[in-house]
């Protein structure tokens, strides 16, 4: 039954196929991201009731929490893609890993900014040296280190391999960093939303949150697709399929 799946995957790994595939899916992913984002924000900012204690200030979680999830999710994607890139030397995996890094850094930055906007009225301070905050800041620096190392090489593929290695070192280190800062100092609340078992959040607050999560996922896909397409064109500059695209564009 599944014999066509590996073949299809192998084909998808080739730059021209992925270029067409990503080009076809990118508008859909972006449209879904915008639609779900609009629904999620309307649900979160208008429909969901105010919190009994934090009033309207809690509504920042509809941006903050999905961004925080995305920051870790994208780091994981980057780590897996890096591993694939180093082990099987697949060019597309390098592109995916390296083009994920700036998106991940942006989500991490949004998480930190929205967190401190929320922290000012709630904790009375913009920033505190709490375990989760510090881990997230370290995550931002890891993303920036990967981006910096990638751009430090003149040869882009070599830069991608070196940065992929750094991403893997980071993956090993992230749990250690997280554990050690937890041991060091903790103020941030524990998790409220449980995948397994009962969540400690009201259903009319939960659905906008999950919708926003889906919206950020689709935004990531759309952004990654368009970034990867541009990168593939630059990487494969001399190849026939790129020349054909350039000629088609020129003749239009």
């Amino acid at each position: 039954m599944a014999s066509w799946i590996p073949l299809w995957l192998h084909k998808l790994g080739s730059p021209p196929t992925f270029y067409r595939f990503a080009g076809a899916l990118q508008p859909w992913a972006m449209a879904l991201a915008l639609l779900l984002g609009a629904i999620g924000l309307y649900g979160g900012l208008v429909l969901a009731p105010a919190d009994y204690q934090q009033a309207d200030a809690y509504r920042i979680i509809f941006i903050h929490v999905p961004s925080a999830w995305m920051s870790m999710f994208i780091y994981a994607v980057m780590g897996v893609a890096s591993f694939v890139a180093l082990v099987w030397r697949i060019k597309l995996a390098e592109v995916v890993a390296m083009e994920s890094a700036p998106i991940g850094a942006a989500f991490t930055f949004i998480t930190l900014v929205t967190g401190s906007l929320w922290g000012k009225p709630m904790w009375g301070t913009w920033w505190t040296w709490d375990a989760r905050l510090t881990s997230e800041l370290v995550l931002l620096f890891l993303f920036l280190g990967v981006i910096g190392l990638y751009h430090a090489f003149e040869d882009r593929r070599q830069g991608a391999r070196a940065a992929a290695f750094l991403a893997i070192i980071g993956i090993i280190n992230v749990p250690i960093v997280h554990f050690s800062v937890n041991w060091w100092n903790t103020l941030h609340q524990g998790s409220t939303v449980n995948v397994f078992g009962q969540s400690k959040i009201s259903a009319d607050m939960l659905w906008p949150l999950l919708t926003m999560t889906l919206a950020t996922k689709f935004y990531y896909l759309a952004s990654l697709f368009s970034r990867a397409r541009t990168d593939l064109l630059a990487l494969e500059g001399g190849k026939d399929w790129v020349r054909k695209i350039a000629e088609d564009e020129a003749s239009r």
Partner: protein
Amino acid sequence: MMNRPSLASACAAMLRRDLTLAWRRRGDIAMPVLYALIVTMLFPFALGPEDTLLQRIAGGVVLVTVLLAMLLALDAMFASDIEDGSLEQLVLAPQPLALMLGMKILAHWLATALPLIVIAPLMAAMLHLPGVVIPVLLLALVLATPLLSLLGAVLVALTAGTRRSGMLLALMLLPLCVPAVIFAAGAVAAAQQGLPWLAPVAWLAAALVLAVVLAPLACAAALRIALDA
């Protein structure tokens, strides 16, 4: 066929070569030490000379200063070997690259971190750290500095193929050494408050054991990526 030297003698030769090179450039060894002393001296100027304040921050200041001084010296770990091509010879050598790099890291630690550990009591005394805490500080440094050398070596190897690497190295290394700083400073702070300090030191030792095994292998892999032009 040529007689292949035994692994132990190859390791010894590597270590001897790197230490001789370091000894020939004694001025470079003194630089991180002077840097650390001057940075430590700046803290009382910036924060005021009150004993209680300086005592409170002494452990952390010494640790961070040593870390920064090591960061300055890290850049040079493979620089001269890349320039004269001996690093490529090392990659081609029949001996396992990870082991040879482990010897290079050991030599680098002996040449840069050991002098810093030797003057650490002086730095601590400049900031009035109580004498009973100094052995704990030294123990923490003895465990934390090789950890930094090993982690740093992997990252230096990654940047070996690039031209500008100084600030980039700091950006990459500092987030990764957060645990080392937390545990080392935690041990010193606990000792200062008269609390048991063995647990953070044990964590530090565990991390070091992990790094001793994994970092030379990672360093070799990183160097192969960086030199594979």
